[in-house]
Amino acid sequence: MSAPSLVSTRNLEFRFGARPVLRGLNLDLHRGESLAVFGSNGAGKTTLLRILATLLRPTGGEAFLDEVPLSARAQRSHLRRRIGFLSHQSMLYERLTARQNLHFYARMYGVDNRARRCAELLEMVELGGREDDPVEEFSKGMQQRLALARALVHDPELVLLDEPFSGLDPRASSRLGTLLQDLPRRGKAVLFTSHHLEMGLGVAHRVAILSGGSFAFDSPRESTSLEGLVAAYASLAGRGA
């Protein structure tokens, strides 16, 4: 693609103490594109997402959003406004209701028409009838869906999702799959990690396997078969992690 990447990394490195997690990772992701990242536990998927979300600083190399370094402190608030991040943990206040949680984050992001936006998102994640229930009464799957709504509350351009399918029942997984296909159509760049190879391959434009601290496999969906992906995962995942 000739258009500049929305998000890119150049020789990205990260170490936990002496242990290298990411080693010279290069990535380009464009608007309207989605990338599924697979890898064994500890491969560095979450670390990569946390760096792109500006929660962690790389120990080497640089990550960019629209060619602006994510480490640029003066731009940080502006950059963060453009990023939505779904973490392993829900980042929700369990004692507050679903509606109060979304309204809180909408206020923090300065979202206009908060009530309408929050109602839309609650409908989207099928929590329309439970908006006034405390989050602590929600099942894991419901919390995951609400967490997704939280990550999207400010309509970010870059959507980072860390294992978004975890805890979801088949119906909710299918709905999320549809959403992950819909977001790029609306011009968003989506990067998500997953252990579900079939699901990831089914919804993303590109699939990649993180192994040994960098992408050992990166292929467009149309030229990747599930069998090929499974074989690549079996041979690459866990190598040098």
């Binding site: 962690l56 003066a74 608030s77 502006h78 004692r95 206020r107 923090m108």
Partner: protein, 240 residues
């Protein structure tokens, strides 16, 4: 150039609620839902007052409440405040909400100010219940000293909350944060507690403001220093 000077300080748009206020309201909303911290702090304060009222027989010792009451009040305030200070960041740690706050496009100082404000309101709410009860237990005329005592309590509670909010945020990422916070906070808060005790003693003795205004001033400076420190350092505190 220091990082805090290099950092772009974002100001909320005029039509938006300041993030600090949003965070403060959220914290108070959570507390109103459960009243966990308030109930714990209130009953803790009540018990401390009760124990002191039985432990010291002021009259047979020839002492008035004004002689030892200031100490009793500040021991109560200090220890009961710890409960809310700890909880204010524990609720952010529970589901990694602290990371979500760090990701919000506002100046990190807003998070500090919001938490500080919520903690201060909480501490003052507890005191609003504790002071009348202490007057009941120890038989002093609260109405006669209500205004100057309120000034002393508000100023010193603000100083204590500013320091406590900063230290609570620093300690929350540690494994034994509930142990670390008092260990960090009590030695550092000693000056404001001492000034608070002295000012309260003079206030309870019926002395005019001019007798302890320098103590209130010192406490205000203490609070201002740690509030500014919190504003400047909170970016580092939130960073993983």
């Amino acid at each position: 150039m220091p990082r805090w000077l290099a950092a772009g300080r974002e100001v909320a748009p005029l039509n938006a609620t300041p993030p600090a206020l949003v965070i403060c309201v959220k914290d108070l909303q959570q507390e109103l839902k459960t009243r966990e911290s308030f109930t714990a702090a209130f009953f803790f304060a009540l018990l401390v007052q009760l124990v002191f009222s039985f432990a010291f027989d002021f009259q047979s010792l020839g002492l008035g409440f004004q002689d030892v009451g200031a100490g009793v009040l500040w021991i109560t305030l200090t220890f009961s405040s710890i409960l809310s200070l700890q909880n204010s960041f524990v609720i952010e740690r529970e589901k990694n909400c602290l990371a979500a706050l760090a990701l919000c496009p506002c100046d990190p100082s807003s998070v500090f100010l919001g938490k500080f404000l919520a903690n201060l309101i909480f501490v003052l709410a507890v005191q609003a219940f504790v002071l009348p009860i202490s007057a009941l237990f120890f038989g002093y005329d609260l109405a006669a000293v209500a205004l100057p005592l309120s000034l002393v309590v508000v100023v010193n509670a603000a100083g204590f909350s500013a320091l406590g909010t900063l230290f609570a945020a620093i300690s929350v990422r540690t494994r034994r944060s509930e142990l670390l916070l008092p260990l960090l906070l009590f030695p550092a808060a000693t000056p404001v507690v001492i000034w608070g005790v002295k000012a309260t003693r003079l206030c309870l003795a019926g002395r005019g403001l001019e007798a302890y205004e320098y103590l209130v001033g010192l406490s205000a400076c203490f609070g201002a220093i740690f509030a500014v420190a919190g504003v400047l350092l909170f970016d580092y505190v939130l960073e993983e």
